[in-house]
Each structure stands twice: as C-alpha cells, then as structure tokens.
C-alpha cells in the first residue's frame, strides 16, 4: 500500500519535477520574506545611504548599520507613545473579549434556556456585519452617548466617549466569531463533568471557571492570540475614534507619520529610515508572538476557516 502512494515518473522527468518544486518553494519564500528583510535592512541605514543611493551591497554590511533611526523613531516620532497606547488597547480588548465570549460560548454550548436558539442566531447574524459598515454610526453613537463626557441626557453638549480609551475599547469587548468558536469547542466536552459539580452545589459561573476553563487551554489560547493580533493591528476604529496623539495606536501613528501630521516632518534627513524603523517596531511583537505560538495560529485558521 505504502509503495503505491509514491508516484514515480521516469528518472529525467522526476528530476525536472523535483527541481521545479524546489524552485517554486524558494520563489515563494523570497516573495513572502523579502519585504520584511528589505524593510529591516533599510531601517538600519543612515540617512544619506538609504535616500540617495538606495540599493547597495554595503547596506548588508553590519558595520554600516546604525540604530539612530530607531532612537529617533522611539523618542522624537512618538513611537513609544503609540506602542504604549496599542499595548493598553490590545491587552484590554483581548482580556475582555476572551472573557465575555467564553462565558457566552459556555451558555450557548451547554445550558438550556428559553430563546436560546433565537439568541444564538442573533449572534451568528452579527458575524456577517462588518466594521466598515458600522464604524460611522458607531462613531456618532459614542460621540452622543447621554450623560458621558460632558453630554446632557439627550447626548448633546459634550464629546461622549470620543477620544477616550473607553470609546476605543468598548465596541470591541465581545467577538461573535469567538463566541461561535468557544461554543463549538465546549459542546464536545462530556456532560458528566459539570453535572457532578452541579450536584455538589456549584453555581454556573463557578462551573465555567473551575471545570470548563481549565479544560479549554488550547481554544482560549487561539482566541486570545487572534484577539490580540487583530487589535494590535487595528486601524479604522482607532483612526476615527482618536483625535489626540495620546490615543493613536501604532497603525494610526504610523499613518500620521507617513503623511506628515505627526511630530516628524517629511523633510527630516532620516525620514525614510525612521518610518521603516517604526514599521519594524509595529511588526516585531506580532512576529515574536507568531514564532512562539505558530502551531496555535495555524490551528486557529484551520478551526475557524477565517483568515
């Protein structure tokens, strides 16, 4: 059986096939990885070298590398501020969304109650509503929330939750696709587990916390990773929700730098290298996370079919 699985062409064609295969894989690797390497190397160049000369083999000589663009990006171009804001935002969203979604996934997957299927259908229906349709009315909603941020009871007068961490985070405290993922996983666990706990007088939140969650490490990891990755890279919502640099996430900050509305002008000598250094710093945490959790990321895609 095992022998029939291997398909062999005549030796010459087999060699050609293998060569083409390796060639294809290498081309793919170059296409996928080269922009990262190019970005990293260019970010280390000193001003004159990158702008005036562009590509030279000297760029690959570590003796010519300088961390100056990184220092400028971190200090002058406010990358440190953006990274701080992004970290607060991403951690808050990850913790909140993972918690609320796993609770809801537990309820939908394991409890019986009136209107369950209707409510779960509602959750599924919200999955098809994309942020690009809702960001504008959502912005108005946050701006006009009654009694918050100087607004009166009709939502007039102040700025509501506009330009605040609460405004950034609140719409992202739950994720419908994560609820779905949790529910699917929780349904596979044996029912006896929680019944035993229930007979012993455990309340539902305690069962979730003490029985279900300890068994759900892998799926919690997958959801948390995707929540973190998604909010780390978030652009549209932070862009419309923040007016002060203090609340710029890294993507919004990099955008404002690139188009000159940040604290670095496009005339600066190091401009290009600083921009690239900022981009490297925006990508680095995700790269580290990916290297540490590659298996979980790949599993997550296979599990959800979402990109």
């Amino acid at each position: 059986m095992a022998q029939t699985r291997r398909l062999r062409l005549p030796p010459r064609e087999e060699l050609l096939y293998r060569t083409l295969l390796v060639f294809g894989i290498v081309i793919g690797l170059i296409i996928a990885a080269l922009p990262f390497l190019w970005m990293a190397v260019s970010s280390l160049g000193t001003a004159g070298m990158v702008i005036r000369i562009g590509f030279t083999w000297d760029m690959f000589n570590p003796l010519n590398w300088s961390l100056e663009p990184y220092v400028v990006a971190w200090k002058m171009a406010s990358i440190s501020k953006y990274i701080r804001t992004t970290t607060i935002y991403a951690v808050a969203v990850t913790v909140l969304a993972t918690t609320t979604s796993s609770l809801a996934g537990y309820v939908f997957g394991r409890l019986r109650f009136p209107a369950r299927d209707f409510l779960f259908g509602l959750v599924l229906a919200t999955m098809m509503i994309p942020g690009s349709v809702t960001f504008l009315p959502l912005f108005i909603l946050m701006l006009r929330l009654p009694l918050l941020g100087g607004n009166d009871i009709f939502g007039a007068g102040g700025h509501g939750l506009y330009n605040s961490y609460a405004g950034l985070i609140l719409p992202n405290v739950v994720s419908a696709s994560s609820i779905f993922l949790f529910r699917q996983f929780f349904r596979t666990l044996p029912k006896d587990l929680e019944d035993a706990a229930r007979i012993d007088g455990c309340s539902e939140p305690m069962i979730w916390l003490r029985v279900i969650m300890p068994l759900s490490g892998p799926v919690v990891t997958v959801v948390a990773l995707f929540q973190f990755q998604g909010s780390w890279n978030a652009f549209v919502w932070p862009l419309v929700m923040s007016s002060s640099e203090r609340l710029y996430t890294i993507s919004v900050g990099m955008y404002s730098l690139a188009y000159g509305s940040g604290s670095l002008t496009s005339m600066a000598e190091l401009f290009q290298s600083v921009l690239l250094a900022g981009s490297v710093m925006a990508v680095l945490p995700i790269l580290v996370l990916f290297i540490a959790f590659q298996r979980q990321f790949v599993q997550g895609i296979a599990l959800t079919g979402l990109k």
Partner: protein, 304 residues
C-alpha cells in the same frame, strides 16, 4: 416515604433548572448586550442616517428622503469608486486564490522545515497593513526601490508606480495578494488534508498521472473550499481600505479610491454623514447578498 423522596428530588431538579435559566441570561448579557448596542444598533443607525443630512458635531439632522441614494447614483465619483472597487475585486480574488492554491500544493508534503516554510508564507497575513504598506511604498520607490531594480533586469523602465494612473491599482492589488495568500494557502491546506489518501491510491492504480490527480480528484474535491474562499475574498475586496489609505490615499486622481475610503472621506473629511451612510448601506446590502449565497451553498451542499 418513597413519595416524599421523589418529590424532594423533583424539587431539587426544578430548582437546578431555575438556577440554570437565571444564570444563562445573566452570563450572556455582557456578550449579547454589546453586540446589540455596538453592531445591530449601528446598522439600523446607518439605514436611518442614510435618509438624512446629518452633521455629527452640531448634531443637526434634516430628513431628505432618498436624496442621498439619488445623489450617489448620479455622482461620477461614486461610479468611479464602484468601478475601482470592482477592479480591485476582479484582480485580487482570482490572484489571491491562485497563489494561495499553488502555495498549498507546493507545501502539502512532509519534510524537515515544512512548518517553518508555511509560517513564512503565512506571516504577511498577521502583520499590520499600515506598517507593511509603508514598507511596500519603499519597495515601490521609483528610482531605488526593489521593484524598479528587479524589473530593470527585465528591461522595464522604472516609473512612479504608485502615482501613475495605470500602475497604481495593480500595485495595490499586488500588495493585497502578497498580504492575503498565506491565509488562502492555510485554508486550502486544511482542505487538502481532508481528502482521503485512498482516492489517490485508487486513481493511481487506474494509471492517473500527477496532473490528472490534480484535475480529477484534488480540484473537484476542493470545490467547496474554493467557493468559500471566493465569497470571502469578494466580501474582503469590497471593504478594502487600510492599504489604499496608506499607499495611495485614493490617488492618483481617484484611480484607487474605494467604497470604504469614500465612506471615510465623506464622513470625516467632508462632514457628509448622511451621504456616507447611504454608501455604507449599499455596501451592507452587497455583503448581505454574498453572505446569503455562501450560506445557501453550504446548507445545500450538506445534502450529498
């Protein structure tokens, strides 16, 4: 005595049920309430706003019926926007699927370092579109960018790729494909691993070659995956925004402006919230139709 025990048991069960129902509603509240407020309500809001002229900062609102929709369909820029978005879709969807499928075929084998290769192909998907857009702007730099240098080897004259009317959109599509094909690849890989090995064995016994295996077994069996990716790809294409914002800002001369880009500009730069909402509603309807097809296909394909 026996009756009493049975009663007590039933009471205990009823008590458990009541507690279960009470907790169920309590525990889904922090998930369902935000979904209603921050997702369902805004959709209704967009529909309502699309019939008004609205200024968010002075909060003045005037009902103007379907004027916003009429304006959109008379407006040349909106037509350009739709055309651009469709051009992006027509370029992006088949390319990202073809590249993703090829990558999956290349990497659907076992050898040392395979997971490193898959990881490297997939990495672009996870990275910030804005950061990688900045890196790609540098790669597209006319004189010293890597794209110009590489194409010079093939005798192509370098140009300002992102500022020329004929190359800006292809450049944006190219970067979008680069950024997305790893995801398509992983979904195809999952599909490939779901095809039973026995099918291939049977076909080989019948004398099928590599190409015939691909043509008559792999490709037909992956059709549901292909259909899913096709629909998802279109839904994503209709919403392309980040990449356009960072790489071209919709230019040159509106050649790369897209629906979501126009929603953003009209709402936040021109304070035309009602008009922007009308465009958002049009986008929503298009996405809803695609989602419906997707759902219809998968609920009917379960039958066989």
């Amino acid at each position: 005595m026996a009756v009493g025990t049975a009663n007590r048991f039933q009471e205990f069960r009823a008590e458990l049920r009541r507690s279960e129902v009470k907790w169920a509603y309590t525990l889904i509240l922090p998930a369902v309430l935000p979904l209603l407020i921050f997702t369902v309500l805004p959709v209704l809001g967009a529909i309502g706003l699309s019939f008004t002229q609205f200024d968010a900062f002075s909060a003045t609102m005037r009902w103007i019926g379907t004027d916003n929709y009429g304006e959109a369909f008379r407006n040349d820029l909106f037509r350009t926007t739709i055309r651009n978005t469709l051009q992006f879709t027509v370029g992006f969807v088949p390319l990202s699927m073809a590249v993703g499928f090829s990558a999956a075929m290349l990497l659907n084998r076992r050898f040392r370092g395979i997971s490193f290769l898959r990881g490297a192909y997939y990495l672009p998907v996870l990275t910030s579109t804005i950061a990688m857009g900045i890196a790609w702007m540098w790669l597209f730099q006319p004189q010293v960018g890597l794209v110009s240098l590489a194409l010079k080897l093939f005798g192509v004259t370098p140009k300002d790729w992102l500022n020329s009317p004929f190359t800006a959109m292809p450049a944006v599509i190219g970067v979008a494909v680069w950024k997305a094909f790893g995801g398509t690849m992983l979904i195809y890989l999952a599909g490939l691993q779901g095809i039973p090995e026995t099918y291939y064995d049977a076909a080989k016994v019948d004398g099928c070659g590599r190409f015939q295996l691909l043509r008559y077994i792999t490709w037909p069996l992956l059709r549901p995956v292909t259909f899913y990716l096709f629909i998802i790809g279109m839904i994503d294409s209709l919403q392309v925004f980040d990449l356009v914002m960072i790489m071209t800002e919709g230019g040159p001369a509106f050649r790369t402006t897209t629906i979501v880009h126009q929603i953003y500009l009209n709402a936040f730069k021109f304070n035309q919230m009602g008009y922007a909402s009308a465009m958002a509603v049009v986008l929503f309807i298009a996405i809803a139709v695609l989602t419906f097809f997707n759902w219809k296909f998968f609920s009917s394909s379960l039958e066989y």
